[in-house]
Symmetry: C2
Subunit: 183 residues, 2 copies
Amino acid sequence: MQDTKERIIELADRLIKTRGFNAFSYKDISDPLEIKNAAIHYYFPSKADLGIAVIEQEIEKLATNKLKWATLPEDKQLQLLFDTFNQKSKQGFVCLMGSLSPDYETLPAPMQEKVQQMSENVLEWTTLCLEHGRNRDLFHFDGEAYNRALLVISDLLASLLLSRVMGSEVFDKMSRQLLNDLL
Amino acid sequence: MQDTKERIIELADRLIKTRGFNAFSYKDISDPLEIKNAAIHYYFPSKADLGIAVIEQEIEKLATNKLKWATLPEDKQLQLLFDTFNQKSKQGFVCLMGSLSPDYETLPAPMQEKVQQMSENVLEWTTLCLEHGRNRDLFHFDGEAYNRALLVISDLLASLLLSRVMGSEVFDKMSRQLLNDLL
DNA sequence: AAAATTACTTACTTGTAGGTAAGTAAGCAA
DNA sequence: TTGCTTACTTACCTACAAGTAAGTAATTTT
């Protein structure tokens, strides 16, 4: 029956990525799962606790992929990162950073820390991927790998935001151009 | 006394750019302006009406800049666009698109339309600027100007989001690298 | 068999959100 | 000077948000 807890996190994750942290309520979770709102408070005393659980899950997924992809050539690794964003795009989701960073000032401090941690992890991974890939001549770009990582992650994040507003073809155009630039 | 209306729009604009549309309330406006919440409803019957007024103001500012900058060389124009984002960065604001697009699904339909209109305007302007600038050999990039515009606007938008979370040096690093790539 | 723990529900509370109906003081218009 | 408009305020309402205290049925531990 630990199942309920995971379902709550999973739904909260979707709600954050579709509607935003401040725009969903416990009712949006308790109704579809056919539980009472107090059941959510049983597992997550405050909404911040639920938010933190969602971010931690994302950080874990990232760590898992990092390990799973570690032996692949860097261009393949980057392609797999793009694939995860493509999936989000098709589901109409934005990424967690894209959803939580605009609301950053309204988030409780412990959530802010987790968001920071998440952003550092993503940036670190992407920087190393680009740097090693360039060393092996798989990527071609000017400037420091960290700065390039900032731009790449920004483009991926914003492609999901713009796709929402301007249509899904935006994601395809952007990711194609981005890969063209790097390869 | 039409002053009050403009002050309401101005404050709403700030609140959207610092806390997000769903995270501010009429009290956040009525308290500092020392008016009652009903005074806001007098000018803007619903919160959506206020949101629309804010977006329309932004669209007008864009049109004004477009005219004001029309005679300058395209690299100067782009630099001025970057400057407006730099100002936002220093004030701790994100741009309107960066704030409203994550909440897009939760916005009332008339606001969604205005957000679309705004995004189209920005993209059109940036596309033409890049295209003409490349024709005059002021910019150097591969691919269609529209696709490049998507990437540039994405980077600017996301630079403000990431700066919030990771610190203001992120904006400088990104904008410097971005300009380096184009010039 | 008794005691404790788990996984919830029932039934609230408090706060605040957006929104409205009715009133009013000041200015302008006929 | 009477009436209309403007720019609000007063005083509400309803809905719903997050959160909590107390209870309970089922399982697990001792």
